[in-house]
């Protein structure tokens, strides 16, 4: 059992080390957010909108992607006279507002600065948007699972390999108390 857990701990960290590091470094930037400037480059485009022959979500997105070079994951809000499509990938976000009544499209394209790009990498998730995004979402899931695997297997490896356990127990009890106290505080006290 011990060698298997050790290999699991080792190889999951070797496989996912870059992703895990990326999440923790970008997370650190998010925690110290106020220290960093977040000014982005913005480009506005106003243009006539030519309705595609069949007006549905897919044709709308296709047309926007091809004509205005918009990329990444998207979400769409269709209303009677208006459609809003948000595109996003690490580095660039875009919002296209199409007014059907006056056949016009207004696009705001934002090129994020370095900190913004880190934010977008950290927040990127969901199984939609094409092959790259599926691969990313899979790596995201594996990184999340690896957190649980690291914690449980690490605790097991420590317990099996260390003779002097007092320091470990003290730290484990301290972290358990802090976590339990915070959860209890939010559930019952605050």
């Amino acid at each position: 059992m011990y060698p298997f857990i050790r290999q699991l701990h080792l190889f999951s960290s070797l496989i996912l080390s870059v992703f895990v590091l990326m999440y923790f470094v970008t997370g650190l930037v998010m925690i110290f957010e106020e220290e960093f400037k977040r000014e982005n480059e913005e480009v506005n485009i106003r243009d006539a909108f030519i309705k595609p022959p069949i007006l549905n979500e897919e044709s709308l997105v296709d047309q926007l992607q091809q004509k205005y070079d918009l990329e990444g994951q998207y979400n769409i809000q269709m209303q009677e006279q208006q459609a809003i499509v948000n595109f996003g990938h690490p580095g660039t976000t875009a919002r296209a507002v199409i007014s059907f009544d006056v056949d016009s499209v207004f696009i705001i394209k934002r090129k994020g600065n370095f900190v913004n790009i880190l934010h977008q990498f950290h927040r990127l998730h969901g199984y939609h948007g094409g092959f790259n995004y599926y691969t990313w979402a899979l790596a995201y899931d594996l990184s999340a699972l690896s957190m649980i695997v690291f914690a449980l297997s690490g605790l097991y490896l420590w317990f099996k390999s260390e003779r002097e356990k007092i320091t470990g127990w003290v730290l484990f009890i301290a972290s358990t108390c802090l976590t339990a106290a915070t959860i209890i505080y939010f559930m019952f006290i605050a």
Partner: protein, 221 residues
């Protein structure tokens, strides 16, 4: 030059420490920090793992609706608080609640009742404050264990909640420990392993694939 001198001094003294204490080696020291740091961050790692999976899959059981309870409290605030934000904070504080007021859900209705929503990871309070009746009616909705557990991912400091200061430090310590653990773990494996070939191959393959994917997403979306 001064920096080099300091590094030289530290190295010399660290070596002396290990010479005098044969049971302690750099490897053993790194392993101990790796173990103890990991144990300290055990619960945070579980929270990060679970909440990240939830962000990707939106588990139904996390967002199970809970039963609200309604209570009221007599309240008479100074009538000269004109600013909605100040009034919201005064209402929250006089009710003894903690949490963030939601500005987009704050406002007055035609009868003059002031409507406020205050939230924190564990509860949502919908408050109707009637100045004429001098009382506040509060609808308190608990969010349940899993939403609290999930909300602790990267949770910062919340005003008037001292325990969140400790949690915010726990967050920072976890980040430092995990970054250290990635490097120290790789180093410990590298110096201790007999068969490094498969590990190095795995590491290089995964490292280059991950970097290539990030670059691809940045440049091509």
């Amino acid at each position: 030059m001064k920096v080099l001198k300091i590094i030289g001094y530290c190295t010399e003294h660290t070596n002396a420490l290990f010479r005098n204490n044969p049971t302690m080696s750099v490897r053993r020291l790194l392993l101990k920090i790796h173990f103890y740091g990991g144990i300290l961050c055990f619960w945070y790692l579980l929270i990060l793992g679970f909440s990240s999976l939830h962000y990707n899959h939106h588990f139904d059981f996390v967002n199970q609706p809970q039963d609200p309870s309604t209570w009221w409290h007599p309240m008479r605030l100074a009538a000269d608080i004109a600013d909605d934000r100040q009034l919201t904070e005064a209402i929250r504080d006089s009710l003894g609640l903690v949490g963030w007021p939601l500005p987009w859900e704050t406002g007055r209705d035609s009868t003059g009742t002031f409507h406020v929503v205050v939230e924190h990871p564990g509860k949502r309070y919908v408050i109707d404050y009637s100045m004429a009746a001098a009382r506040a009616t509060v609808v308190e909705t608990p969010k349940g264990f899993w939403r609290v557990f999930n909300s602790l991912h990267g949770f910062g400091v919340m005003p008037k909640a001292p325990i969140t200061y400790a949690w915010s430090w726990y967050t920072k310590i976890t980040i430092a420990v995990v970054v250290f653990a990635v490097f120290s773990g790789t180093y410990l494996w590298f110096i201790g392993s007999q068969n490094k070939k498969s590990g190095i191959l795995t590491l290089l393959l995964c490292f280059s694939s991950a970097v290539a994917l990030m670059l691809q997403m940045y440049f091509n979306g």
